[in-house]
C-alpha cells in the first residue's frame, strides 16, 4: 500500500472527527438583566400592620431569579448533561426559586434548613429531605413545555417553578447575569424563564461557531412571552 493511501486512511477519519467535534462545541452566549423583585406591600398577614420604617436597603437591588433553556428545534442529538441545576432550601425559601430541565434530566433539591423539608414539584412529592441532604427530581416527559410549580406544604409562602421542556440545554446565568450554553449545530429557541414562567424567547441558530445573543433585558417591562406552539411530530 502506498504512503498516500495510508495517509488517506488516517487523515479522512481525523478530519471527520474534527469536523464532528467542531459541530458540538458551539456555545450560545449572552447576558440577561433579571427583572427587579418588587418590594412587598403592606400586606396584612394577621389582624394589624403598621409602617414604622422605610424598606430595607437590601431590598432595593433585589432581582428575580432567572433560568435559561435552549430548546432544540432542529439539531443534532444533544448529549445528556452531566450537571444538573440545583435548588436550595434556605431561609424558609427556594434559592433560586426557578430551574429548567430537559426531559430525562434532573433537578436537585438541597435542604439547608435545620429541620426536614418536603417539596412538591407539580404532582410529585420530593422528600422529606433531611437537613443537609439532597433529593433529585426526575424531569419526566409531559407536555412539550411544562412549567411545574414547586411548593413546600408547611410554608405557604414558598413558591417556585421547574420548567421542563422536550429537548434542549438547561442553564442559568451567573451572579453578573452572563450565561453560556453549549449545544450542537442546529436551530434553537433560547427561553428566559422566571418563577412566573417564560419571560422571553429568542431564536438562535448554531452553525459552527459560538453565538452571542446579546443581553436580554427582562427588566424593561417586557411581559413573558407565550410559549411557542409545539412543533408537530
Amino acid at each position: 500500500m502506498s504512503q498516500l493511501s495510508r495517509a488517506q486512511t488516517w487523515i479522512v477519519p481525523c478530519l471527520v472527527a474534527l469536523g464532528t467535534t467542531s459541530a458540538e462545541a458551539a456555545a450560545v452566549k449572552g447576558s440577561v438583566t433579571p427583572p427587579p423583585k418588587p418590594v412587598a406591600d403592606a400586606q396584612m398577614l394577621g389582624y394589624t400592620v403598621t409602617r414604622v420604617a422605610s424598606p430595607a436597603k437590601t431590598l432595593e437591588g433585589a432581582k428575580k431569579d432567572v433560568a435559561l433553556f435552549l430548546r432544540s428545534k432542529e439539531s443534532l442529538p444533544i448529549p445528556t448533561p452531566k450537571e444538573h441545576l440545583q435548588i436550595a432550601i434556605r431561609g424558609m425559601r427556594l434559592v433560586p426559586n426557578v430551574a429548567t430541565c430537559a426531559v430525562d434530566a434532573q433537578v436537585v433539591f438541597k435542604n439547608e434548613e435545620r429541620d426536614p423539608v418536603t417539596v412538591e414539584v407539580g404532582k410529585t412529592t420530593v422528600g422529606p429531605i433531611a437537613p443537609g441532604e439532597t433529593a433529585v427530581y426526575e424531569c419526566t416527559a409531559g407536555e412539550p413545555e411544562d412549567p411545574r410549580p414547586v411548593r413546600i406544604p408547611n410554608w405557604r409562602h414558598v413558591s417556585g417553578l421547574v420548567y421542563v421542556a422536550q429537548s434542549g440545554v438547561a442553564g442559568r446565568p451567573n451572579d453578573r447575569g452572563s450565561f453560556s450554553l453549549n449545544a450542537p449545530q442546529g436551530t434553537y429557541e433560547l427561553q428566559f424563564v422566571t418563577a412566573e414562567g417564560v419571560a422571553m424567547r429568542k431564536e438562535v441558530e448554531i452553525v459552527r461557531s459560538d453565538v452571542d445573543v446579546g443581553t436580554a433585558d427582562l427588566a424593561a417591562g417586557q411581559k413573558p412571552e407565550e410559549p411557542a406552539e409545539p412543533e408537530g411530530p
Partner: protein
C-alpha cells in the same frame, strides 16, 4: 253506649288530637328556637373572637415595636457585629431582653437584615449556624418597614407572631419577632373573652380547645366553614318537671343538637387551620319539660271537663229520652204504667212528660164516646138492644165487683158460695146486625166460681124489664147523658188533679176500658169536659137524657172505654142496672147507661173486632163484669200486645172445651195480663194457675154463648179499686 262512643270520638278529635298536635308543634318550635338561639350565639361569638384576636394582635405588635425600639436604641446589631467582650455583653443583654419579651412557651428572636436569627430567647452563646427566616413573609414584611402580626407555623405547632423592624437610619434593618403559642391557655383565655367555646383545628387535628376533647373531635368534623352546624350532646340530661317522663319528643341529652358551631380561618395561616367557635344551643330546652307539663295539664283538664260534659248531657238529655222511649214502648206493648212521673226525668223534659201523660190520659176519654155504640153489652152489665141502644136495668146498687179474688191455696177453707145472680145484662148491639138486629139477649153476668170469689157480695138481682130494645135504649141514654158532660146536668165537681204516684198501678191495659173508678179512687187531674164526651159528635138525644141529667151526675173521673160507675144516676138505676157476678173472678158492678141512637147507628156500621167489652150475667151466677164497648183501635192495640213476661202454660186443646186457636191464644193473653195486673196491684199471683183460670173463663164463655148465641166471648183485664178485674164481651158471628 252509642252516645258514649260518639262522645269519646268527639273528645279524641276535639281535645286529644289538637292538644297532641300542640305538644308536637310546640316541641318542634322550641327545638327550632333553640337552634336559632345557638346559631345567633355562635355568630356573635365569631365576631367576638375576631375582635378579641385583633386586640391581642395589637398588643403583640405593640410589644414587638417596643422591643425593637429598645434594641435599636441599644444598637445591638453593630455591637454584636464587633464581637469581643462588648459583643458578648451585648449578646447577654439582648438575650435578657428577649427572655423578658418572650411569652411562656413562645419565642423572641433578633433577626438581622439577611434573615438570620442572631439571638434567641434562652440562648446561652452565639451559634455558627443560626436559623434563617429570610423567606418568611412576616420577616419580609418587616424588611418592608412594617410592624405586623401573623401566624408562625413550624414543626412545634402554630404560633401567633408579631414582628417589628429594627430601624437603622430610618430604614428597616433586621427585625424582632415574638411568637405567642396557640395553646390551651390561650384558647381558654379567648373562650372566656367571647363567652363561648373555642377550638383551634389544623385539618382534622384539634390543636387546642376549651371543649371536652371527645366533643371537640366530633365538632371538628362538622364545622369546616362559616356555616353554622349542630352537633354534640349535653353532658347532663335536660331537667324534667313534676312528671319524670317529660320532656317528650326530644332526646334527653339533645344528641346532635346540643352545640352550634361555626369555623373561621386563622389569618396568615393555611386554609385548613381554623378557629371553631361552639355555643350551647340546648339551654333554652331546659324549660321544655315545664311547657309540656302545662300542655299535659291542659289535656287532662280538658279530658275531665269533656267527660263531665258528657255525663251531664247523658244525664240531662240522653237518659230522659231513653226513659220516654221506654215508657212509650211499654204503653204500646200494653205493659207498665200509663203515666210516667215527671220527677223521673230532668227538668227540660218534664213538660214533655206532662204532655205525654196528658195525651195518654185522654185516650180512654176518646174511646168512651164509642162505648155504647159498639158493644153488645152496655155498661154495668146491662144488655143493649140489638138495635143499638143500651137496655137500662132497674136501678140497683151497683157495686164494683172485683174479679181478681182468686181462691186461696187449697188449704184455705172455701168461701161461701154467692147467691144466684140475677141474670141481668145489658147487651151492646153488634154493628153487623145493626140493620136487622137480633133480639137482644137477656143480660147475663159473668159468674165467678165459688172457689175463686169467696168474698164476693151477693149479686144484686138484675132488674131488666122489658125487651132488649128498652134496655138498650136505657143504657144508651145513660151513656149519652154521661157524655153530655156537665152542661145538661149538674156537673160534678171536677176531681182535683192528683199526681199519679210513682209506680202507679194503673196499667196500660186500662186504655182499653179500665173504669176510672178502678184507679184507686184517684181521678185524672184533667177533669172530663163536655168536648171529650162529645168528641165524635154524638148527639145527646137519648130518651133517658133528661131523666139522667136531672138526677144524676157523671161519675167522677169517667173516661170511658170501660166500666162506668153510674151509681149516682137514679134514672139510670130506675131503668135497671145489673151487676155482673161470677164465680171465682169476683163480681163487679157494671154501669149501664142508654146509648144515643145515632151512636148505636154509627156503631152498627163499623167493622168491629171481636173484642167487645160487655158485662154478662148468666144463670150460673156469672161474675160481675164491667160492660163497655172498646174502641176498635184499642182492641187492635190489645191484639198486638206483646206477651207478658211469665208465659202461661199452653192452653188445653180446642177439642177439650170447644176453643179454637184464637180463643186459646186470647185466653192466654188474658191470663198473662191478669197476672201482670195483679202483680202490679200487689196481689198474689201464685195461687192462680192457668188451667183453673182457663176453666173458669171457658165456663163463662159457654154460658154467654149459650145465652146470647154469640160466636165467642172476649175478655179484658182492667184495674178496679186497686185490684185486677175482668170484663167480658160477646162476639157475634160475622
Amino acid at each position: 253506649m252509642r252516645f258514649w262512643i260518639r262522645h269519646i270520638i268527639l273528645i279524641v278529635l276535639c281535645v286529644v288530637l289538637p292538644l297532641g298536635a300542640a305538644l308536637y308543634f310546640d316541641t318542634e318550635s322550641e327545638k327550632d328556637r333553640a337552634r336559632g338561639v345557638g346559631a345567633s350565639t355562635v355568630q356573635a361569638a365569631l365576631r367576638g373572637l375576631e375582635s378579641t384576636l385583633r386586640l391581642e394582635a395589637h398588643d403583640r405588635v405593640g410589644g414587638a415595636i417596643t422591643l425593637s425600639q429598645r434594641l435599636t436604641d441599644f444598637d445591638v446589631m453593630r455591637i454584636l457585629g464587633r464581637g469581643g467582650s462588648r459583643g458578648q455583653a451585648a449578646f447577654a443583654q439582648t438575650v435578657q431582653l428577649l427572655d423578658g419579651a418572650a411569652p411562656p412557651g413562645g419565642f423572641a428572636w433578633l433577626v438581622d437584615g439577611e434573615g438570620r436569627v442572631v439571638v434567641e430567647n434562652g440562648q446561652t452563646e452565639p451559634t455558627e449556624t443560626p436559623r434563617q427566616v429570610t423567606g418568611h413573609p412576616l420577616f419580609a414584611a418587616t424588611q418592608s418597614g412594617n410592624a405586623l402580626d401573623g401566624v408562625w407555623s413550624d414543626v412545634e405547632g402554630l404560633t401567633l407572631a408579631a414582628g417589628a423592624p429594627l430601624v437603622d437610619g430610618g430604614a428597616a434593618s433586621g427585625a424582632v419577632i415574638v411568637g405567642y403559642p396557640i395553646d390551651q391557655g390561650m384558647v381558654t383565655r379567648v373562650a372566656k373573652a367571647v363567652s363561648a367555646n373555642v377550638s383551634l383545628l389544623s385539618g382534622d387535628r384539634v390543636v387546642a380547645t376549651s371543649l371536652p376533647p371527645a366533643l371537640a373531635d366530633e365538632i371538628a368534623a362538622a364545622a369546616t366553614s362559616g356555616e353554622v352546624v349542630f352537633g354534640g350532646k349535653r353532658d347532663r340530661p335536660l331537667p324534667s318537671s313534676t312528671v319524670p317522663m317529660l320532656p317528650l319528643l326530644i332526646d334527653r341529652f339533645a344528641n346532635g343538637t346540643a352545640y352550634a358551631s361555626a369555623a373561621a380561618p386563622v389569618r396568615g395561616s393555611l386554609p385548613t387551620v381554623r378557629w371553631v367557635v361552639s355555643a350551647d344551643s340546648s339551654n333554652s330546652l331546659e324549660a321544655l319539660a315545664q311547657r309540656q307539663e302545662i300542655i299535659f295539664a291542659a289535656l287532662a283538664a280538658s279530658l275531665l271537663l269533656a267527660l263531665l260534659v258528657g255525663l251531664v248531657n247523658h244525664r240531662t238529655f240522653v237518659r230522659p229520652i231513653d226513659k220516654l222511649a221506654e215508657h212509650l214502648s211499654e204503653i204500646q206493648l200494653g205493659r207498665g204504667d200509663l203515666e210516667l212521673p215527671e220527677g223521673r226525668v230532668s227538668k227540660p223534659f218534664r213538660r214533655l212528660v206532662r204532655l205525654i201523660n196528658m195525651t195518654v190520659q185522654k185516650v180512654p176519654a176518646r174511646s168512651l164516646t164509642a162505648i155504647g155504640s159498639t158493644s153488645d153489652v152496655g155498661l154495668e152489665g146491662r144488655p143493649v138492644s140489638r138495635t143499638g141502644s143500651l137496655v137500662v136495668t132497674p136501678p140497683q146498687q151497683l157495686e164494683p165487683q172485683n174479679m181478681d179474688q182468686f181462691p186461696p191455696a187449697p188449704s184455705a177453707p172455701p168461701p161461701a158460695p154467692p147467691p144466684d145472680p140475677a141474670p141481668v145484662e145489658p147487651v151492646v148491639p153488634d154493628p153487623v146486625f145493626a140493620s136487622a138486629p137480633p133480639p137482644a139477649p137477656a143480660p147475663e153476668a159473668l159468674q165467678i166460681p165459688d172457689d175463686l170469689a169467696p168474698s164476693l157480695p151477693p149479686a144484686p138481682t138484675p132488674a131488666f124489664t122489658g125487651d132488649d130494645t128498652d134496655e138498650a135504649a136505657a143504657i144508651a141514654e145513660a151513656i149519652a147523658s154521661l157524655e153530655a158532660g156537665q152542661s145538661p146536668m149538674e156537673a160534678p165537681p171536677a176531681p182535683e188533679p192528683t199526681p199519679i204516684p210513682s209506680g202507679s198501678s194503673r196499667a196500660a191495659s186500662g186504655i182499653r176500658g179500665t173504669p176510672m173508678g178502678s184507679v184507686d179512687g184517684m181521678p185524672s187531674p184533667f177533669p172530663p169536659s163536655q168536648s171529650e164526651f162529645l168528641r165524635d159528635g154524638s148527639s145527646l138525644s137519648s130518651p133517658l137524657q133528661d131523666e139522667v141529667g136531672a138526677s144524676t151526675s157523671p161519675a167522677p173521673g169517667v173516661r170511658g172505654g170501660g166500666s162506668l160507675d153510674l151509681s149516682g144516676y137514679a134514672g139510670v138505676m130506675d131503668k135497671g142496672a145489673a151487676t155482673v157476678e161470677g164465680e171465682g173472678f169476683g163480681p163487679e158492678a157494671t154501669v149501664v147507661a142508654p146509648v144515643a141512637e145515632d151512636l148505636l147507628a154509627q156503631s152498627a156500621r163499623e167493622d168491629l173486632t171481636d173484642h167487645h167489652a160487655s158485662a154478662i150475667t148468666g144463670d150460673e151466677k156469672p161474675d160481675m163484669t164491667v160492660v163497655a164497648s172498646v174502641p176498635a183501635d184499642l182492641l187492635a192495640q190489645s191484639a198486638g200486645e206483646a206477651p207478658l213476661p211469665d208465659p202461661p202454660p199452653p192452653p188445653p186443646p180446642a177439642t177439650e172445651n170447644g176453643l179454637d186457636a184464637a180463643d186459646r191464644a186470647h185466653f192466654q193473653e188474658v191470663y198473662e195480663r191478669f197476672i201482670d195486673l195483679r202483680r202490679r196491684c200487689g196481689e198474689k199471683t201464685t195461687d192462680l194457675a192457668f188451667d183453673r183460670f182457663l176453666k173458669k173463663l171457658t165456663k163463662n164463655r159457654e154460658n154467654l154463648i149459650k145465652k146470647y148465641h154469640c160466636r165467642t166471648v172476649r175478655f179484658q183485664v182492667y184495674e178496679k179499686d186497686g185490684k185486677a178485674a175482668l170484663k167480658a164481651t160477646p162476639v157475634r158471628a160475622r
